[in-house]
């Protein structure tokens, strides 16, 4: 098992570095800076850190006003509160005017664990991807997180990065260079393609390794840029492997699976299966228990691959 590293800590450190390089970078948080790790930045650059208190809608508006005045605001809280709590503010204050605000949220998905339903963000990707002009990234490990934060700062326009609470095994080495809008082939294979995001990338790799023992060779794509999605990589995978499985820590509706299916149906129809949460809210539990209960493990991916293969002509 690869070394496990905190994606949130990677975010905090990346922000700190950005703050040193670029004095227009400002950071906002809504009373969660110790959890989102924006506290690193706050300690070093108190004059450029804006604690907004437990008032997410106001935080979005302040960030928008700052972006309209030439700043590069990074606003952070839990993924369940942004965009959910303040969807209309994100829509009208950031997305419509195309303002240069970076929303970096943590505790996305089920892996937040014991805090339960109110804290499990399983709709955020659907909401944020619905907004015209947003770029959306779900990093697969700490190294990709650092790269994603740099990419967000370099890009002009609304940006969303979703991180999770637990530490994640490294799927990349230090030499990894993230390319915005490009899926990464993590493993080659010709029988089926597993397209995954976030912590499901490691599960996809594990599933592919297990399936190989049964003589099933899976390609694994990390679709870390969810929007704009890498259509070329999807079409190529569909054409070459003729079966696709998506895997995400999100509701089945409106996330990675929906986005990939749209591309597949339009350009290269092939059988698909979806590893995601099925139209329900989850409960309290350990992250690993929840991933198992709601069908988000390597075994679920393996089953899905076999289902997709069975439908292949």
């Amino acid at each position: 098992m690869a070394e496990e590293v905190s994606v949130r800590e990677a975010y905090g450190k990346a922000l700190l570095e950005l703050g040193m390089e670029n004095h227009d970078v400002v950071v906002l948080d809504a009373d969660l800076s110790r959890s989102t790790m924006t506290a690193f930045f706050a300690r070093e650059f108190p004059e450029r850190f804006f604690e907004c208190g437990i008032a997410e809608q106001n935080m979005i508006g302040i960030a928008a006003g700052m972006a309209a005045s030439g700043k590069i605001p990074f606003a952070s809280t839990f993924a369940v509160f942004v965009p959910g709590r303040c969807f209309d503010q994100v829509r009208m204050s950031i997305a419509q005017p195309g303002l240069n605000v970076k929303l970096v949220t943590t505790h996305g998905g089920l892996s937040v664990g014991e805090d339960g339903t109110s804290h499990q963000s399983i709709e955020d990707l659907s909401l944020i991807c619905s907004l015209p002009g947003f770029t959306v990234i779900v990093p697969a490990d700490a190294i990709e997180t650092t790269e994603a934060v740099k990419a967000a700062a370099a890009h002009l326009g609304p940006f969303y990065i979703r991180l999770c609470r637990p530490k994640l095994p490294l799927v990349y080495g230090d030499d990894y260079r993230f390319k915005l809008g490009k899926a990464v082939v993590m493993r080659q294979g010709g029988d089926a393609t597993i397209i995954a995001i976030g912590l499901m990338v490691q599960s996809a790799l594990d599933a592919a390794r297990n399936l190989e023992r049964e003589g099933i060779y899976c390609r694994v794509l990390n679709m870390s840029t969810l929007k704009p999605i890498d259509e070329a990589a999807i079409v190529q995978a569909a054409a070459e492997t003729r079966a696709i499985v998506t895997a995400e820590e999100h509701l089945e509706h409106g996330g990675l699976g929906s986005l990939v299916a749209q591309v597949v149906v339009r350009h290269q129809p092939v059988p698909m299966e979806f590893v995601a949460i099925k139209d329900t809210y989850a409960k309290s539990g350990k992250p690993s228990e929840l991933l198992e209960r709601y069908g988000l493990t390597e075994k679920d991916i393996e089953r899905a691959v076999k289902l997709a293969l069975a439908k292949k002509r």
Partner: protein, 297 residues
Amino acid sequence: MVKKSLPEMGGSKSTSATSAEAEVFSLSASVAEMEAMAKKLRRHIITMIGKAGSGHPGGSLSAVEILTALYFKLMRHKPQDPHWEDRDRFILSKGHAAPLLYAVLAECGYFPVEELLTLRQLDSRLQGHTDRTITPGVEMSAGSLGQGLSFALGVALAGRLDGQDYRVYVLLGDGECNEGQVWEAAMAASHYSVDNLTAIVDNNGQQIDGWNCDVMSLDPFAAKWQAFGWRVIEVDGHSIPRLIAAFKEAQKVKGQPVVIIAHTVKGKGVSFMENNPDFHGTAPNTMEVEFALKELA
């Protein structure tokens, strides 16, 4: 990947070549000239909304003197260079009063006055509610009430961080103050002791479903702002000299934000629109336009 070209996205830093040459708008108008301008703006509002066949006359008419005082007497701005870095900012939070803002901007020279008649038409730069990406001089995309004070606070904090001396003005509706976000922003502005920000409430006493006191009571309104740490100035919102005095008083306040509660009449200047909730969001028909323009002659 298709990149949207968003010329204004980088924010307010002026890149336009005209920046150096563009004139700062002259603020030499007399009170009598401004009063005449207020009347002219009211005629524009009626004509525009009448022509468009939809829009919000009531809350546009009530704030005419407020914007006249700001744009013609108080704010440092360059109509030929709307992104001038040193400009004072006016943010219209009650975005449904867009016709008023458009009329003021046109009269200042941000775009041709004739363009006012394109209000709400397909491909017009004058959208039903403000859109900062296409209309010169419009600072915020508004229309969803409750968001402007937060946005203005962000602009004010950024200005302070950069050591810039511009002032930020934001106009709210009284009904708009039903929104919780307004009070989140009010709390934050005083927490950050922001004194380059002046909020104005167009306190015309009405919202859509009727009088504020019947829909959702705001009382005691001034005391609420005070309790949130704001300096409150109450003023007759239709007296240009009193408004100017109030704005000058606000400029002198240090260490806390100021709200000017402007007592106004919804539909002001047109007898049958005054205090008439039917004209919150309904356009006057041809006869009503004619009648109103006669009153405003």
